[in-house]
């Protein structure tokens, strides 16, 4: 005779919640399976790959000029930074000297791009935290000014395809400097707005302080870079450690967090925005008229055989381009070292033992771009 009430029938089970790929908080098409006990996350399984378009493989069939457009689409929030990595890799392979003016303009655009990308972060993260759309519209309102500037220069709002191996595609507009200054002023106002709306709010502090903590060791172990790593207290910024462009000629501060939590990541990005403004202001004073392309540029870009790895500090961390060339006009192999991909690995460590709502914040605080993760 068996007991009808087997102990197993009373077993308490954790439930699995499938967040994404269509979920407002997953920033695109990211999927995480949460094993929750009530509201507490017991385990988290991230699933990526929904946005995989084979950008790396595709680039092998594209010559060096064609590949630039694909870099835009890899990192659709920091397009200039992504393009920069690609063209710098080609330049290094071909051993091209880039004119000074082109370098400064690249630097201005990259920093403005960082600003716009961080604006986007503040908007998206505010929405994750539950500010109903206000942070989003604030962020978009000020990001719009930057995008307008980019559109005036490059002709497009999102897929700029403006950097070329050797320099820039064409000269910037005549009123470039005045416009950049104007945009900087507006951005300062934007930073102030968003800061006032969110940063000191007690509710926001209560939600984010001590949440999604990543210790120094964990952050290094997972290979995180950028604001996530710096928030955990590691002093690493490629702009300082291995200066590219003219980052060694401008003065800026690198914010370093001390708690490694979500709030620190927020504060860090706010501070980085201020520093970006500062960098651009310095760049503007050093901008001289001059050529934007080397004098003798081959019409057909051909590289000697070789391989290079380029590291740049994109808004989300280290954006690396590993390019192998066997000679000819296209890369033999291209690998994008995605900052978000590495940062995303730490999500599980950040979220376990926290509330479901905190997992959402931890994900948001990494500011992932799924296009870059899946490539």
């Amino acid at each position: 005779m068996t007991n009808a009430l087997q102990p197993s029938e009373f077993e308490v089970q954790d439930i699995m919640i499938n967040m994404g790929p269509q979920h407002p908080a997953t920033h695109g098409v990211f999927r995480m399976v949460l094993q929750v006990d009530g509201e507490i996350v017991k385990d988290l399984i991230p699933h990526i790959g929904y946005m995989h378009r084979g950008a790396e493989k595709l680039s092998e069939t594209m010559d060096f000029r064609q590949g630039i457009g694909f870099m835009d689409r890899t990192e659709y929030l920091a397009q200039f930074n992504a393009e920069l990595g690609y063209v710098m890799a080609v330049e290094k392979l071909m051993d091209i000297e880039v004119p000074e003016r082109a370098q400064w303009i690249r630097m201005i655009l990259c920093e403005l791009n960082r600003l716009s990308s961080h604006f986007m972060f503040t908007g998206a993260f505010g929405t994750d935290a539950g500010v109903f759309g206000t942070s989003f519209t604030y962020a978009f309102r000020w990001r719009e000014e930057i995008l307008d500037l980019f559109e005036e220069i490059t002709g497009d709002r999102l897929m700029y395809a403006y950097f070329r191996p050797g320099g820039l595609a064409w000269e910037v507009t005549d009123n470039f400097e005045a416009r950049v200054r104007q945009v900087l002023e507006l951005s300062k106002q934007g930073i102030k707005d968003i800061d006032g709306l969110v940063t000191n709010n007690e509710i926001f502090k209560a939600r984010t302080q001590g949440v999604g903590v990543l210790t120094k060791e964990q952050a290094i172990d997972w290979g995180t870079t950028g604001p996530v790593l710096r928030a955990s207290g590691v002093q690493m910024d490629i702009r300082r450690d291995e200066p590219y462009l003219f980052y060694d000629q401008v003065e800026f501060d690198i914010p370093i967090g001390q708690n490694g939590d979500v709030y620190d990541r927020w504060c860090l990005r706010m501070e980085e925005m201020r520093q970006s403004v500062r960098i651009v202001e310095q760049c503007l004073t050093k901008l001289q008229p001059g050529p934007i392309q080397p004098e003798r540029m081959p019409r057909m870009l051909r590289t000697p055989p070789g391989e290079v790895y380029i590291r740049t500090e994109a808004p989300r961390g280290e954006f690396g381009i590993y390019m192998v060339s066997k000679g000819g006009n296209r890369p033999h192999r291209l690998k994008v070292r995605s900052s978000c991909f590495a940062n995303l690995q730490s999500l599980r460590d950040m979220s376990i033992g926290q509330y479901v709502a905190d997992a959402v914040l931890a994900l948001g605080s990494m500011d992932i771009v799924l296009c870059e993760v899946d490539r």
Binding site: F70, E144, E152, A161, G196, K205
Partner: protein, 156 residues
């Protein structure tokens, strides 16, 4: 409590500001001169024929292979009694706007300055119900410049 009040003060200050969004279909944003829409062909107004010679350079350079170019002997060439200096000229030209990624490469590789990116569109003008309708043929590609709608920057 201070931060909460600060948040509310910030939102109140934006409440007093003018909205920044527009009534879209009625008021458009002024497009910058360099606005980059889709590639169109240019029309040689002196010779009354397209600049394009059908050299296939753009077709080969296009990353997404969305162009199809067919060349022919120019019926108006001097050797056959015409006035044009172009020996070869474009016969048929298709661009699939559905595939074009607006990268500007075709413009850069063209040796005859025969193609350019349109700078008067906002994007919605080309919306269609069928993807096949996005394939533009030669008259369509030329009409934009022939009617003189393009803004200066692209003509240079």
């Amino acid at each position: 409590m201070k931060g909460i009040l600060k948040s509310m003060a910030t939102t109140l200050s934006t409440f007093a500001r003018k909205p920044v969004t527009r009534e879209y279909p009625e008021t458009h944003k002024e497009l910058p001169e360099r606005d980059r829409a889709f590639p169109v062909l240019l029309w040689d107004k002196e010779a009354h024929e397209p600049f394009c010679t059908g050299c296939h350079a753009c077709e080969r350079a296009c990353p997404v292979e969305c162009m199809t170019v067919l060349m022919k002997d120019n019926p108006a060439h001097k050797s056959v009694g015409g006035e044009s200096g172009r020996r070869k000229i474009i016969d048929k030209f298709w661009i699939d706007y559905g595939r074009c990624m607006r990268c500007n490469i075709c413009v850069e590789v063209c040796n005859f300055d025969a193609i350019t990116m349109n700078n008067t569109w906002e994007g919605h003008e080309k919306s269609v119900y069928d993807r096949a309708d996005l394939v533009q043929d030669l008259p369509m590609l030329l009409s934009e410049h022939r009617s003189g709608e393009l803004k200066p920057w692209v003509n240079e």
